[in-house]
């Protein structure tokens, strides 16, 4: 059973989960996935075993939420939201820079493996659990993803 106040979980892992969501989804969708992830996590938190790897647990939830968001988007034939939404100027300055776009352009498994290993810092054993394959497959997907990123985003890291 968890013992720490949930606020500590948000403080310690909020930033990493946001980066993971941004690696998986466009910025507006990433915000939604972050919100859904922490709301779900807060609901389940009292029953989380004390020994659990909290970050892996959160990334697993974020993984499912990102898939939900993508599915709901693909069912919407017209992206109306772009037209109706008033510009808020809130919080999206770097969210759509080229790097994140390049990550999001990767095939699903590569994108997920890169996000969970290089953004969240999870070991491949945890990633294999999330993606439902072998540890080797997870490692290969991340390596392929990084190779593709080097090809498509030659500028390197952000300034």
């Amino acid at each position: 059973m968890s013992t720490k106040p949930f606020e500590k979980v948000v403080e310690e892992h909020g930033r990493t989960v946001l980066r993971v969501c941004r690696a998986l989804l466009a910025s507006h969708d990433a915000d939604d996935a972050w919100s859904e992830t922490f709301l779900s996590a807060m609901r389940a938190y009292p029953d989380l075993p004390e020994t659990a790897n909290v970050e892996a647990w959160l990334v697993t939830i974020a993984h499912r939420k990102a898939i939900d968001v993508l599915r709901s988007r693909s069912r919407q034939p017209v992206p109306v939201e772009e037209v109706t939404e008033a510009p808020t100027g809130l919080g999206v300055p770097d969210a759509d820079d080229g790097l994140w776009q390049a990550v999001r352009a990767l095939p699903d498994k590569q994108r997920q493996a890169v996000a969970y290993h290089y953004v969240a810092g999870l070991p491949y054993a945890e990633i294999a659990q999330i993606l439902g394959g072998t540890i080797d497959a997870a490692r290969r997907a991340a390596a392929d993803g990084i190779r593709n990123l080097r090809k498509n985003y030659p500028g390197g890291g952000p300034s």
Binding site: P5, R43, Y153, G156
Partner: protein, 199 residues
């Protein structure tokens, strides 16, 4: 891009995280998941931690008590669904501000007394009967709750008051009239007594 780890070392957007946190506070409240909401306020007696359950204000804590330790205790005694969510405490913050500026003499807030029980609870519930700027001795409070010999237990009840200020244990003094101990430290007790005497 020598090391893939550096690739993602973007400074995450603090504004975005603050906005998402507020959104989480509201969603948690709407979904009935906000078991304990808390915030801090500045005051003449230092930074105060305020925490509330859906039933009401459950804890007021001084700096010297260690706010992190207090939050850990709330998590273990009430629920680990503890979130910094100031909105539920707006009315409390408002009344405290009025109190510290001398414009408020008693508090009118829903309280959750679930952190106390037994004799301590009995004593703490009696504290608001000591009016603004009045004082009682530990002995007088013991008599008030019908147990005149329980002077020491009254002291313990005051020392473990989960809602100092709101349940005014600072108005309970030693029989010789000196302030005695206080959960927020003796200096805070003197500050409060002076504040009320001057208003």
């Amino acid at each position: 891009m020598n090391n893939p780890d550096d690739l993602f070392a973007t400074p995450a957007d603090a504004d975005t995280l603050a906005r998402l946190h507020r959104r989480l506070e509201q969603a948690a409240e709407d979904e009935g998941l906000l078991d304990v909401a808390y915030r801090t306020v500045d005051s003449p007696v230092g930074t105060l931690l305020l925490a509330a359950t859906p039933r009401g204000l459950v804890r007021v804590a001084y700096d010297v008590e260690g706010h992190d330790r207090v939050l850990d205790t709330l998590a273990s005694r009430l629920s680990t669904r503890v979130l910094r969510a100031p909105k539920r405490l707006d009315a409390v913050a408002q009344e405290l501000e009025e109190y510290f500026s001398g414009r408020r003499r008693s508090f009118d807030l829903p309280l959750d007394l679930s952190l106390s029980k037994g004799f301590r609870l009995l004593v703490q519930q009696q504290l608001p009967s000591i009016g603004y700027a009045q004082t009682r001795s530990y002995r007088q409070v013991a008599e008030l709750v019908g147990n005149p010999k329980a002077v020491r237990a009254v002291g313990t009840a005051c020392a473990t008051n989960p809602l100092p200020l709101v349940l005014p244990c600072h108005r309970v003094l030693r029989t010789d009239g000196t302030p005695g101990q206080y959960v927020g430290g003796p200096a805070a007790k003197t500050t409060l007594l002076n504040l009320e005497a001057a208003a």
